[in-house]
Structure formats: structure tokens, C-alpha cells
Symmetry: C2
């Protein structure tokens, strides 16, 4: 129970570290930020960071785990609130668009580009993120197809993969052009590719 005089720091240090590191990775990549960067932004020392996360590899893994959990939560909320398959896909795309509007790349998308240089545990966590997304999308696509509101060729898993890679690619290229419309335009086209044609 919350007491009136209770005052824990609004956000624990470990979380604040993750917040700053997450932003830096999403904008500059995993090799593009340092403990010194994070420390400076938080007004603490590098040594303190090592207390919360022993090494950069552990910090990186924690970033992906938290990001994936937050994403999974968002997908659950979509499932709970949005009934139709088409609207679920719209909401899914909006998750990406929101990241891009913050001028960030998808965390796991940018880490996919650096995949070769990542520590093993980080690699595994990145792949899990995409597997989870694919599974969720495949379910939505399958139900949408059964309901007749969605239409696509091949397996739902296949179509889900294409959607994810299409969205990640659209984010990747939107940033150099600093133009979110580049993403939105590509996203609309991707969605149009799985929506059942009403003229048929």
C-alpha cells in the first residue's frame, strides 16, 4: 500500500540507464554509444553503470529483453481492444510508426544490422523478438483470412515475415531521408497486399 510519505525514486536507476541506452542504440547503434555517453546523460559515473550492468553485453541483452516485453505487452493490448484483423494490422504498423516519429529505428532492426558483431546472448534475444512478432502476425493473418477480410498467397508465416521485413526496411530507409512519409507510404502498400480486395 502506498503511504503518503513514501518516496522511492520515481524511476529506479537501472531503468533510467536502460531508457538512455535504448535511445542511444536506436539512434546510433550498439557500437555507436559508450558507457561514457550514458553516464554523462544521467549525471553519474561510468563506474556506477557497471554496478547495475556488469558489462556492455549484459546491458545490451537487458535492453532487448525489456524492449521485447514492452512490445509483447502492446500486442496483448491490441488483441484485447481491437477486434478485426485489419484494424489489428493497422495498430501493429502504428507501433512502428510511433518509434520512427521519435526519430528512432526499431531496436532489434538496428541490432540486426550489427548482428555479426553482437555477443551470443544478444543475438538470441534479437531472433526471439522477430520470432515472436512473426507468430503474432501469423495468427492475425490466419484469422483474417478465415474471416475473409484478409487475403494473401502462401503461408501466413511467410506473409508475416514479409510484413516484418518490409516494415523494418521502410524504417531503415526513412531515417536517412528524415521523412516519415517514406515509411507510411511503404506501410500502406504492405497492408494493401494482405487486405482482401472488395471487388472480388
Amino acid at each position: 500500500m502506498a503511504v503518503a510519505t513514501a518516496r522511492k525514486p520515481a524511476v529506479p536507476t537501472a531503468e533510467r540507464i536502460l531508457d538512455v541506452a535504448e535511445r542511444l542504440v536506436q539512434t546510433r547503434g550498439f557500437k555507436g554509444f559508450s558507457y561514457a555517453d550514458v553516464a554523462e546523460h544521467l549525471g553519474i559515473t561510468k563506474a556506477s553503470l557497471h554496478y547495475h550492468f556488469p558489462g556492455k553485453a549484459e546491458l545490451g541483452e537487458a535492453l532487448i529483453v525489456r524492449y521485447s516485453a514492452r512490445f509483447a505487452g502492446a500486442l496483448e493490448r491490441i488483441d484485447a481492444k481491437v477486434p478485426s484483423a485489419g484494424a489489428k494490422l493497422d495498430a501493429y504498423v502504428e507501433l512502428y510508426a510511433k518509434v520512427l516519429r521519435a526519430r528512432r529505428m526499431c531496436l532489434c532492426g538496428i541490432l540486426a544490422a550489427e548482428f555479426e558483431t553482437l555477443p551470443g546472448p544478444m543475438r538470441d534475444a534479437v531472433v526471439r523478438f522477430f520470432d515472436d512478432n512473426q507468430a503474432w502476425l501469423a495468427t492475425v493473418l490466419t484469422r483474417g483470412q478465415a474471416d475473409g477480410v484478409l487475403s494473401f498467397r502462401g503461408t501466413a508465416e511467410d506473409a508475416a515475415q514479409s510484413l516484418i521485413s518490409g516494415l523494418e526496411g521502410a524504417m531503415l530507409l526513412a531515417r536517412p531521408y528524415a521523412d516519415p512519409r517514406r515509411f507510411e507510404s511503404a506501410a500502406r502498400r504492405l497492408l494493401a497486399g494482405v487486405v482482401a480486395d472488395p471487388e472480388r
Copy 2:
């Protein structure tokens, strides 16, 4: 005219440096390789590299310029040899597939992920690469549409952007899974999205 006894080194040192650096960037990213890496692979010293390319920024720019020129040459050859718009698109996708089969990412795709940390001249060169690709694709799409073999909604420029980002995203995600089929499957779906439906 070539003389029988003439023997320049088969490949000039600067080219060999670019060859090694290109492979390293395409697999590990621009921040993922060092002058020491390149020097070791070539059996020369770091200092020698600085003779050919004063700094990493100049080396990086030279990489993109050469890569773009080679790509432009490939597009010219496609234009010269391949008549139909559909086959041109197939040949275009094959350019990407070939890179991926060498277990590399598109040079400018991986640099797009690192865009924020790149020197200005490298950024400009990356954007030019994508602009050139978009222009070529838009021309192919426009002619294909006029000929009735291709069909897509919106502008050709828009569709070209979507194709490029779709292909880049498919490469990006194929590598963590070490599975070229992931790329091929997504590429087929992208092409199917612009091919005129014969049933219409």
C-alpha cells in the same frame, strides 16, 4: 596497347584495400572494422593504408562511390540485355540475392543503419545510391505499366521506394536467420505486388 612483357600488379593496392574493406563493412558494419583489420588481411601495415586513404571517412566514401558505380553498371547491362519490364525486375532482385548469398548485407543498407554516426560525405553518397536506384526502378515500373505487364497503385516513385525498402529489409532479416530463402520469399511477394494480374 598491351605489351607482352607488361606486368602491372593484377590489382592495384588501392583496389585490394577497397575489396577487403567492402567485405568487412558489408558483414560487420562501418564501425565494426578497423584499419588494423584491413592491414592484416592484406599483409601490409596500417600506415600504408593511410597513404592510399588519408582517413577512415575517405575510405568509406570511396567504398560507396565504387559500389554505386558498379551497381549503376549492372543496371545499364540489365537495360541493354533484358527487354521486358518484368524480367528487368527479376534481374534487379537477383543483384540483391547475389550479395546475400555471399553472406553480405547491401553496403548502403548497412550504412543506412549507421547513418547517424557517418561523416557527412558518406551520408550524401548513401542517399545518392538510393536515389539512383529509385530513379531506375521508377523508369522500369512506368514503362511496364504502360506496356500492361506491370500494375501498381500510386506513383512509380512510390512503388519503387517500397520495392527498395522491402528488399533491404528482407536482406536485413535474412542474415540473422542465415537463411537466403527468407529473402527470396519476401522478394517474390514484392514482385508479385507489381506484376499485372493476368486474370483481370
